[in-house]
Structure formats: structure tokens, C-alpha cells
């Protein structure tokens, strides 16, 4: 059972108090930076009114579709490219050309081809997420110790069994790393595409609140976004511990005493 981080909580509490006091003492500051109590009140308000839920669900839906699609496509492609040296060599120039370009730059192109609806947002999310997953998967497959596969062959495992029972588990830590990185990227792309062109979703919501000078609500929405991001991360860690428990236990780093 984890120890309760008293010191950390204390720091947070002190921070909140300082924030509250500073905002209350300086009225000019409070215009741009309302006191913590106001933000909390606003948070309650947007939750209660259902506004937050509407936008959050829109974003989460895009996130889920984009992420799952990216994972499926990129893991699949990564496995193929990792296994086939020839295919990888053929596609490598294209990969190296597109790879350095920041994935957000694809948004204007996507708007051109797909308009400003959900399809565009999901498409850019898929594009951005695919890269870390793809590259990590290729890397993971290629760095599997050939000895393991050869040993499996001497035990007369079929190619399919060698893939499924040896290669895939051996590559999985790297694949999971890619999946973890693109979790954050998916959230970034969904938020960004909603800010650039949308009329719902948390990205749009935060920007809209800023434009209509609803400061407390804006900070509340940002806090909500942070909590959602945090929850998604925890969810990922939970799944990770279930699926990858065998690896995590075996490779745990020792703590400095």
C-alpha cells in the first residue's frame, strides 16, 4: 500500500492558500487570475450544468477513436516492417522524410481534404499517434534477440507460434512504450485541432471561455482537462501492470536508499 504523500499534499495546500490570498489582495491580478475558490466554484458550475460533460465526451470520443485506430494500424504496420527487412528498406526514405515534420503541421492539409468535422480531427490524431507507435514497434521487433527465435525453432515451434509466443512478447515492452508516448500525443492533437477549428470539445471550450472572458470557468476547464489527462494516464498504467506485469517485475530498478 502506498504511503500518503503528506509533504506533497502540504505543498499543494500551501500553494492553494497563497494563490487565494494573492488573488484576493490584488484586484488587478484577480481579473486575469481569479482566486482558487472562484475557480473551484466555477468548476462545480460547469460540471453541474453539464457543459463540461458535453465537451469532454466529444473530446474523449475523438481521442478514443483516433488512439485505437492509430494503435491498430501502427502496431500492425510496425510488425510487418519490423519483420520484413526489404519492405522496411523500401519505405525507410519516406519515413525519414516525414518523420521530422511536427505532426501538428498536418492540420491545415487535413482541413483541406477532410473539412472541419470529426473526421479531420480523428485523422490528424491517427497521423500523429501512429509515428511513436510505428517506430517503437519496428524497433522492438528488430531488436528481439534472434537467439530466442532460433531456440524456439529448435523446439519445433511453427512460424506463427514463434511470432505469437516469442517475438511478440519480446517486442511488447517497446511497443507499450510507443503506446504510452502516443497517449499524450493523442490528447495534444485532439485539443489542438479543436482549438484551430471546431465548435465543441474541450480544446474549443477552453479557448471559447478565454475569448468570452469567463476566466474562472476557463481555469476550471483547464483543471478538468488536467484531471482527465491524469485519469487516462492512470488507466494506462493499470492496464500496463496487468498485461506487462511479468516484465515490470523482472526489470524493476532498485531505489537509492
Amino acid at each position: 500500500m502506498r504511503r500518503i504523500p503528506w509533504l506533497g499534499l502540504l505543498v499543494v495546500a500551501v500553494g492553494l492558500i497563497v494563490w487565494e490570498a494573492a488573488a484576493r489582495a490584488h484586484h488587478d491580478l484577480a481579473v486575469h487570475f481569479p482566486p482558487a475558490s472562484a475557480v473551484l466554484w466555477a468548476l462545480g458550475g460547469i460540471v453541474w450544468s453539464g457543459e463540461l460533460a458535453t465537451h469532454a465526451l466529444a473530446s474523449l470520443r475523438r481521442f478514443a477513436e483516433g488512439y485505437v485506430l492509430a494503435a491498430g494500424l501502427a502496431v500492425g504496420a510496425g510488425l510487418v516492417l519490423g519483420l520484413s527487412r526489404r519492405l522496411h528498406a523500401t519505405l525507410e526514405p519516406l519515413i525519414e522524410l516525414l518523420r521530422p515534420m511536427p505532426s501538428v503541421a498536418i492540420i491545415p492539409v487535413a482541413i483541406l481534404f477532410l473539412g472541419i468535422g470529426d473526421r479531420m480531427k480523428i485523422a490528424v490524431t491517427v497521423y500523429a499517434c501512429a509515428w511513436p507507435i510505428l517506430l517503437n514497434t519496428i524497433d522492438g521487433v528488430r531488436s528481439v534477440d534472434r537467439m530466442l527465435v532460433a531456440t524456439a525453432a529448435t523446439f519445433r515451434l511453427s512460424p506463427w507460434q514463434r511470432f505469437w509466443k516469442v517475438m511478440l512478447p519480446a517486442a511488447s515492452p517497446q511497443i507499450v512504450t510507443g503506446l504510452r508516448v502516443s497517449l499524450a500525443i493523442a490528447l495534444v492533437l485532439v485539443t489542438t485541432s479543436e482549438m484551430v477549428v471546431s465548435n465543441d470539445g474541450l480544446g474549443y471550450y477552453v479557448l471559447d471561455l478565454q475569448r468570452s472572458f469567463q476566466m474562472a470557468e476557463m481555469y476550471a476547464a483547464v483543471v478538468a482537462l488536467g484531471l482527465i489527462g491524469y485519469a487516462l494516464n492512470r488507466l494506462f498504467l493499470l492496464l500496463d501492470s496487468r498485461v506487462m506485469g511479468w516484465y515490470r517485475g523482472a526489470t524493476r530498478k532498485e531505489e537509492i536508499p
Binding site: F33, S103, L187
Partner: protein
């Protein structure tokens, strides 16, 4: 046509280049990115060493770090606009915040992973606290720190583009979006080409600096 022939794209690319328009936007973007990145590097490595070395400091800051880390960087842009307007300050601030986290996390990881035996050995040689940090901990943790700096470089570029797409009148991100909005399609692709080249060049520079500074360290730490 949404996908003009390569010749037209290269035309727009070359035209923008020699007219000075593209270099102008690139210069502005680079300036913002570099400033935010540099500030993030200094602040995050410092804080990371502190949090990595002293358990108390880590405990104190962990909750805040974990929370702020989870906020997607674009969401900070409206907040930054409120606090700093829509000028360069806002962009530098957003880039600074977004880059800080990977550097911080990796630095903490690196410092925590330093072999305690190394530190104890230095102490038996009579090394003072600051000297241990500078001569033992920092070099030992540097592969991790470098990893964090590399990740942050990519993030800096992304945030430069994002902040310029959401609130700007200059910079390469603005250039691409504006080209799309006015349906100057070859221009848009030219801008993307510029970005790809920029990303490539920055990566190369980083690898070069990394190779020269880290030549003593042959084995790379895993990501």
C-alpha cells in the same frame, strides 16, 4: 486541386525562400522556440537534479508535477493568452512549460538512477556536496538528461507550430495555416516542407552536439 504537382510546391518554396518571406517566418519561429527551450532546459535540469537527489524535495513536488504534466500543452495556450496577451511572450511561455516536463522527468530519473556506490565512493574521497553533484551525479545522469533534452526539442517545435496556429500573425505555423485559409495550396505544402527540413536540421544539430559532448559515454541509456 488539393494536391498540386511537386513543381508548383517547389516553386512556392523557392519563391518564398528568396523573397525572404520564409526565412523571416522561420527566424521568428526559431527565436521563440530557442528561447523557450533554453529556459526550460535550465529550469528543468536544475529542478530535476534537486528533486532527483533529495527525496524530500521530490516528495514535495511530485503531486504538482504529475498534475501539471497531465495537462495537454495546447490547453495552456488560452491561459497564456490571458496572462501574457498574444505576443511572443505567450509563445515562449507555452514552449517553456511544455518542454520543461520531459526534461524534468528524465533528469529526475537519471539522477535517481545514479549508482549509490559512486556517490559514497566520492564521499570517502572527501568530496563536498556540490562537488559530488557536479562531478559525479551530473555526468552519471547525463544520458538521461540528454534523452529528455532530445524529446523536448521535438516538443518545442510542435508547440511553436501550435501556438502560432492558435494566436499569431507570424511564424511558420501561421504561414501554413494562413496559406490553407486563403487556399494558396502550393504555399501550404511549401511551408510543411520547410518545417520538415527544419525538424531534420535541428535533429542533426542535436545529434552532432550530443556526439561531441557525450563521446566519453559509449553506452546509451534506454529510453
Amino acid at each position: 486541386m488539393f494536391f498540386p504537382p511537386l513543381s508548383k510546391i517547389l516553386d512556392a518554396f523557392w519563391g518564398g525562400l528568396i523573397s525572404g518571406e520564409i526565412p523571416g517566418h522561420v527566424g521568428v519561429s526559431l527565436w521563440r522556440g530557442a528561447l523557450g527551450y533554453a529556459l526550460a532546459a535550465v529550469a528543468a535540469v536544475t529542478l530535476g537534479v534537486l528533486m532527483g537527489y533529495w527525496r524530500r524535495v521530490h516528495e514535495a513536488g511530485e503531486i504538482l508535477v504529475e498534475f501539471f504534466r497531465a495537462v495537454p500543452a495546447p490547453a495552456i495556450v488560452p491561459v497564456a493568452i490571458v496572462l501574457l496577451g498574444i505576443g511572443d511572450g505567450m509563445k515562449v511561455f507555452v514552449i517553456f512549460l511544455a518542454c520543461s516536463f520531459p526534461i524534468l522527468i528524465n533528469t529526475i530519473d537519471g539522477v535517481r538512477g545514479v549508482d549509490p556506490v559512486l556517490i559514497r565512493t566520492a564521499r570517502t574521497f572527501g568530496c563536498s556536496g556540490p562537488a559530488i553533484l557536479a562531478k559525479v551525479v551530473l555526468p552519471a545522469a547525463s544520458p538521461f538528461i540528454v534523452t529528455g533534452l532530445r524529446i523536448a526539442l521535438a516538443i518545442a517545435l510542435i508547440l511553436v507550430v501550435i501556438s502560432e496556429m492558435v494566436g499569431a500573425t507570424s511564424g511558420i505555423g501561421y504561414y501554413i495555416l494562413e496559406a490553407q485559409r486563403t487556399f494558396k495550396v502550393p504555399r501550404m505544402y511549401a511551408g510543411m516542407l520547410v518545417l520538415a527540413l527544419l525538424g531534420f536540421a535541428l535533429n542533426r544539430c542535436f545529434l552532432f552536439v550530443d556526439a561531441s559532448l557525450m563521446a566519453w559515454h559509449r553506452q546509451r541509456a534506454p529510453e
